[in-house]
């Protein structure tokens, strides 16, 4: 139990070198569009993002985890392709694949073994896109981190990425950011209960304003973040 906790902490850490700090998951666009202006709107926007992640990324992560636990590598690849096909915004696709590829390399190098070697090969040979949630599901499945904890680590990571970006993009006190994180983390258990009953065909996300903001961010002149 202690070792699974430490695996979850290491590979889910915001400092883990997958390049998470270069992305804001749509927050930069939201701030420049004046949709996020203060801690309350920041909290609401982050919650919108985690809710959408739970029913899309989270479902793919759980399917990849379950496939890995049951020894079926093709379930993870199918979940990965299905998730990639459900991301309409090119920057957000690039973000998840960039982080996913780095995670696949790190997992194969640090942990090793046939499963993670096979996943890295599938990703590098472009047999599967290599999204971050699917890769994290495979890694945590292989490491024996329980699926609920794997889901929670990913959800927490989405919020941490955005709040880290917020500290650099708007006037925000560190403790206000932590208060937002604490509140958003309070939804993870319910989100897991809901997401754990969905199949990949039932993945959904309804975030039109995020989609419009992210679409316009692609061609914005001044950008600190790649998404």
């Amino acid at each position: 139990m202690i070792s699974e906790l430490l695996r979850a902490l290491q590979f889910g850490d915001s400092m883990f070198p997958v390049g998470g700090f270069t992305f804001s998951n749509g927050l930069e666009a939201a701030i420049s569009g004046r949709v996020v202006r203060d801690p309350p709107t920041l909290a609401a926007f982050v919650r919108t993002a985690t809710r959408a992640a739970a029913t899309s990324d989270g479902v793919a992560l759980l399917e990849a985890h379950r496939g890995t636990r049951s020894g079926d590598p093709y379930r993870a690849r199918a979940a990965d392709r299905a998730l990639y096909a459900r991301k309409p915004n090119e920057e957000l696709r690039a973000m998840t694949v960039r982080m996913g590829h780095k995670l696949a390399q790190a997992g194969a190098r640090i942990v090793g073994g046939g499963t993670l070697g096979g996943w890295l090969r599938a990703v590098t040979e472009e047999a599967t896109p290599g999204t971050y949630p699917a890769g994290l599901g495979v890694l945590f499945g292989e490491l024996g981190v329980p699926e609920a904890h794997a889901f929670a680590v990913h959800q927490h990571g989405v919020a941490v990425m955005m709040l880290g970006a917020a500290l650099r993009l708007m006037p925000l006190h560190h403790l206000d950011g932590q208060a937002v994180l604490y509140a958003v983390d309070g939804s993870v258990a319910d989100d897991y209960r809901y997401a754990s009953g969905l199949t990949p065909a039932e993945m959904s996300a309804f975030t039109p304003q995020v989609d419009v903001l992210a679409a316009n961010h692609v061609r914005a002149h001044v950008r600190m973040f790649m998404s």
């Binding site: 569009g33 609401a44 309409p88």
Partner: protein, 300 residues
């Protein structure tokens, strides 16, 4: 249709059982080339859905078969199960629209559903541009659309979703129970290029939140499924940024796997959103077919 979000709505309507005659509208539309024009060669229909014939009203593309889908019930009610199948043979060009807005009526039991299948063959071109969808208070609606097309074909698919009867009785905005709309795009042979599913249950989570509708009321969701070259031609003709102070915002994004483009429009009222969608329609048609959209009929 076994769909998790429908679990609370299994009760049968008191008026008539779900999916029985009168509630099982069906359309099968088959288009084929006949000389220089596209003709509607297969037409199967079952009330309340109705199509009468193809007309040729498009002065920019006179060979384009134009079809109007009519709902003779005047709205979608609880227990309705509609199915629409549309197929375009190679080289066909067609425009399909609806005679009026799709009104999803108030419900106190069960739900309504629509299953659609759109199949295009090589070099086919279809504009599917229905009038807006208006989900009334307490309505429950599930739509599933599956599209299959090769890279040489083009589908312009646009839906406008209203928040409800916004200007009725003090305002009915996001007062519906369920709006679930899923769409998938495959190549012939089964490879999935793109899919999206909107699941909106306002009582669970308000669509007014930042990042969702964010204070806007009307959503225009446009998909242009076409070749990679066609996609780049359309993008090159679009303004860099589509955000406006005067109450609307829009943005275009390349879809995954070379499927085409997504263009979303947000506004407060239907007219500006329809106008913006129409502009995109004309830009897309110009880039793909070399002609703009026809002048707007004043009565539509």
């Amino acid at each position: 249709m076994t769909v998790s979000e429908l679990a609370p709505y299994g009760d049968e309507p008191a008026q008539m059982p779900s999916g029985t005659p009168g509630k099982n509208g069906f359309l099968r539309l088959g288009f084929a080339r006949r000389g220089a024009r596209t003709a509607l060669v297969t037409l199967q229909r079952r009330a309340p859905l109705l199509v009468q014939q193809a007309l040729y009203w498009d002065e920019e593309l006179p060979d384009l078969a134009c079809v109007v889908i009519v709902d003779t019930a005047g709205g979608v009610v609880q227990g309705d199960r509609y199915e629409v199948e549309t197929e375009l043979a190679a080289g066909c060009r067609a425009h399909v629209t609806t005679q009026a807005a799709t009104r999803i009526q108030e419900m106190d039991a069960n739900y309504a559903s629509q299953a659609q299948r759109i199949v295009l063959h090589d070099d086919a071109y279809l504009e599917y541009l229905p009038e807006p969808v208006i989900p009334y208070r307490h309505s429950r609606f599930v739509a599933r659309t599956s599209v299959c097309l090769p890279e040489s074909a083009t589908l312009l698919y646009a839906e406008i979703l209203m928040p409800g009867r916004k200007h009725y009785r003090g305002g009915e905005v996001f007062a519906y129970d369920l709006y679930s709309s899923g769409l998938s795009v495959d190549r012939p042979g089964g490879r999935e290029l793109f899919a999206e599913k909107f699941l909106v249950e306002p009582a669970r989570s308000s669509p007014a939140r930042p990042g969702v509708m964010g204070g806007f009321h009307v959503l225009g969701n446009v998909l242009l499924l076409t070749s990679v070259a066609g996609t780049e031609r359309v993008l090159a003709r679009m303004p860099a940024v589509g955000e406006h102070a005067d109450g609307w915002a829009a943005g275009a994004s390349r879809l995954p796997n070379g499927a085409g483009l997504s263009y979303k429009v947000l506004g407060m009222e239907s007219e500006p959103v329809r106008a913006t969608v129409r502009e995109f329609w004309s830009t897309a048609r110009l880039a793909i077919m070399g002609r703009p959209a026809p002048a707007r009929f004043p009565w539509r």
